[in-house]
Symmetry: D2
Subunit: 291 residues, 4 copies
């Protein structure tokens, strides 16, 4: 059953296997009249690219140049689906084998579920899948540059630097400053519920915290009531939305293929993209709250 | 815009304000032929009821007797929508006022968003809304009693008992033992993504952890690969699924109305219901993976 | 799989079997602040009731009094789900039998599909199911009374009066005058596509025509271009939208139970309700076309 | 708001403007393990291509070669999104102008709705958009070749041949022989309701008839009950499903650009594709009817 689309009004559908010819996204529901800034989009893509000078990063060397195939005319959105894609140019399929199930990877669960898998790499479970998310997130960010120019995301990481012979994870904290008010639809589509889904849909993420997160379990009600919260009742208050996620160590340790030792820095732009997509979707959904 | 439905195939829609005449749920997509055990459903409802003997629990005294209005014939599901409802019998509207915005509550965000609110209580943001979730979750649990009888949920709480004059929160850990394999649809509808959404949609929940959760940020890849995980690549492995959530203290401290001092115990059955609904939805979704 | 919800933003979910305790609807996505006119809603329900003085109409004598259980406070919508229901008071189950499959009815296809059926009547395939549609349509009409007061529906019927010992069908033509412009989302959710679905979802309807309908197959392009059309490219132009549907004769001929000889007049308000729901949904959807 | 996706489980999303670089589709929800027959898909595409030897057909000369970018590995579907595209190679944008609104076209309604349009051609309202539908329909047909090999579609046209200086329309009748039983989800997603939507979503289609269609308005109930019907209660019986649609004359008469005089023959494969997609979606949906 389909599971490759995120959002109800601003809908991002991603496609592509890590070792197929291309990776892409179709964004349906982006309003018409939005100026598309190609440099900005390319820059967002570059943020998730491996840093070849960084000893912690994979040596897979991709250009990751995107093209827009529809939905934009004379640099403005038409209100029609925006199809974007990035061609894979540095896929080394020979590093993989149909009978090797890498530990900690999705290889085996995919095979169990579908009875078939693209053994040339991680397929849809590969980090390259996140290219489509970055493309969708970049469009979402362009929306907010126009409609809520004061909104900004501030991301910080906490990495436990250990051995270079092993892999390790860390934490990412993201603050959304000056978000629009009234985002979030009670009861199941609370803003924090959709944000949690957005972030847990990223392969390596193992936790989600909003506001004070796990610390709220230990605080007294009288104190908690005095704090400023990003959401109340699932609806944004306009105060800073604080999110924290835990990223597990990449499972690709000591096995063939070119992999990251620590993927935390590369997940930052992906997490931001998912948050931007979620907020854009709720920004549009909120237009129907009042007659 | 609508936000009161959870699930794609097994769809639970809840309705009802805390001080309106009734609270209910419509479950669409439940397969035909499921035996409905009314005692079990009532028992699930009773688990979330205030414990009048417990000094930490609200004194609102509701019968919470449910009735089934459709979708069931001679104790079996018909494959048509199951409408269930519980009538509110102990609503004290006089405890509330249209101009009182209770701190930490959704009163104000609802008013901002909708320009109107039911000031007689929490409305949809009230804990009574969870009755509809319990009803949906009970049906979901009945599905698993039939199709995966070994599956079970084991819930434990960790409560920081402090002052009875204040409110406080805690943690809930839930283990799903012997879950079906192959649940979860990559990439956005990963099982953990939908579980995170399910649990963050509960009013007081502020975090979500899966498997080792925040601890995975600090573990080495080589160690992590040796551990058994509930999901890989967003798909259930058949191993125990471990979930942990933080519950904030209820904001109703020192204000009128009858409220809980600690809602952690009452959230346990709600969390279980949301997990059961999510798993039932994915159990049915998985039927379309292979031709 | 669920199929009892219509609409994407203005979502109407109906439930209830003909011989169960009640029939109802949950409307999620109705904007807040709409004045609810109970008399108008009851009047819409009365329009679909059997006319006991009409020899062509069933003798089933139902009060069809509705109640609102949620989503409305002090006569205004809250932006939360509106739950409405009508109790069945005159169900004669003894007219039916588990082993009688009435010709032309859905009895057998339901049993084949679900392996079970409510043999006490038509269940969900009964005309009583349309009560939920009327309730949803009445709310939709109230929206247009406020936002597009000039819009009106003019319905006419063409009935082939034949024998009173047999049943017969006819045509219904509905003109939507002064509709809002810009309704309809290319390419699959064209306004006429959703209208066609809306009307073919009514049990006895066997055709759908828009504008000149089947006559457009025989007209020259140069002539056709001169005519005013209700939609172009799937989007409403503001000109009158002309719809025509064929209604088959009711299959309940010479068998037990109380049935209509000609259901065309009773389908008129149902068809209007489905059109109103479709237009309301598209009216809200159109709010997201432009940034 | 998005409107470019059809189907709930077998979901086809199309994208692309007539004069943009490419046209394509993403099919999410196709089960894994389906053999992809590239020749068959190309042949389906060729059926909708202009016939350059036919004086009634446009002179736009496109290769319409498709490529598959994801979701297929070693000629079998992976259960992941199938991205397919066709590049536009013969777009003559100079035939169009930003200030020319062609009569009978969607040019003006698109501009009104979105405040912008791709004036180089019909954009999304162009017939070229149907390429994505053909691609989705071809995959759907491959599903049925495997799971219901006896099912076949028989299409016939009725064209009113008039002047070559004008354009004209006609009728298309399609019989689906030996369809699977139990397709269709009451009450709103009746099989005929989704088929009606599928066909009315094709630009030039102005009517939809099922079974005897408009003739059912004039037949007696006792006679009608004796006839074999393709659906009862919205669920397929296994009998032949008979569909008839009216196609209007193409509005491109005596204006620049290369256009068809009669598009009826070119709509036949598009109508078949939409029917196949609808049936495939319902085939998968029906898997969840019984526990």
């Amino acid at each position: 059953m389909p599971g490759n689309t995120f959002g109800k009004i601003f809908r991002v559908t991603t496609w592509g296997e890590s070792h197929g010819p291309a990776i892409g996204a179709v964004i349906d529901g982006c309003p018409a009249g939005l100026k598309i800034d190609g440099k900005f989009i390319q820059n967002e893509l570059n943020r998730r690219k491996p840093n070849l000078n960084d000893p912690l990063s994979t040596k897979r060397n991709e250009d990751d140049k995107f093209c827009v195939l529809s939905g934009v005319f004379e640099e403005k959105t038409l209100g029609t689906p925006i199809a974007m894609e990035v061609w894979n140019t540095d896929a080394h399929s020979q590093d993989y084998s149909p009978t090797l199930f890498r530990p900690g990877h999705a290889d085996k669960t995919y095979l169990n579920k579908y009875g078939i898998r693209d053994y040339r790499g991680g397929g849809r479970a590969s980090g390259r899948e996140t290219i489509g998310r970055i493309l969708g997130g970049a469009i979402a960010k362009l929306i907010f540059k126009k409609v809520a120019p004061k909104m900004e995301m501030k991301s910080t990481t906490e990495i436990f630097n250990k051995s270079k012979k092993d892999s390790f994870g860390g934490f990412i904290s993201i603050e959304v400053k000056n978000p629009p008010t009234n985002l979030g639809e009670p009861v199941f589509d609370k803003l924090e519920a959709d944000l949690a889904k957005a972030l847990l849909s990223i392969g390596a993420v193992k936790s989600f915290e909003i506001d004070l997160g796990i610390k709220e379990a230990g605080i007294l009600g009288s104190e908690n009531n005095k704090l400023k919260k990003g959401t109340l009742g699932g609806i944004s208050t306009g105060e800073t939305i604080k999110i924290k996620i835990a990223v597990k160590p990449t499972p690709s340790v000591g096995i063939k293929g070119r992999h990251d030792v620590c993927i935390v820095p590369r997940i930052v732009p992906v997490a931001e993209a998912m948050i931007a997509i979620t907020l854009a979707d709720h920004y549009l959904r909120n237009r129907c709250s009042i007659l």
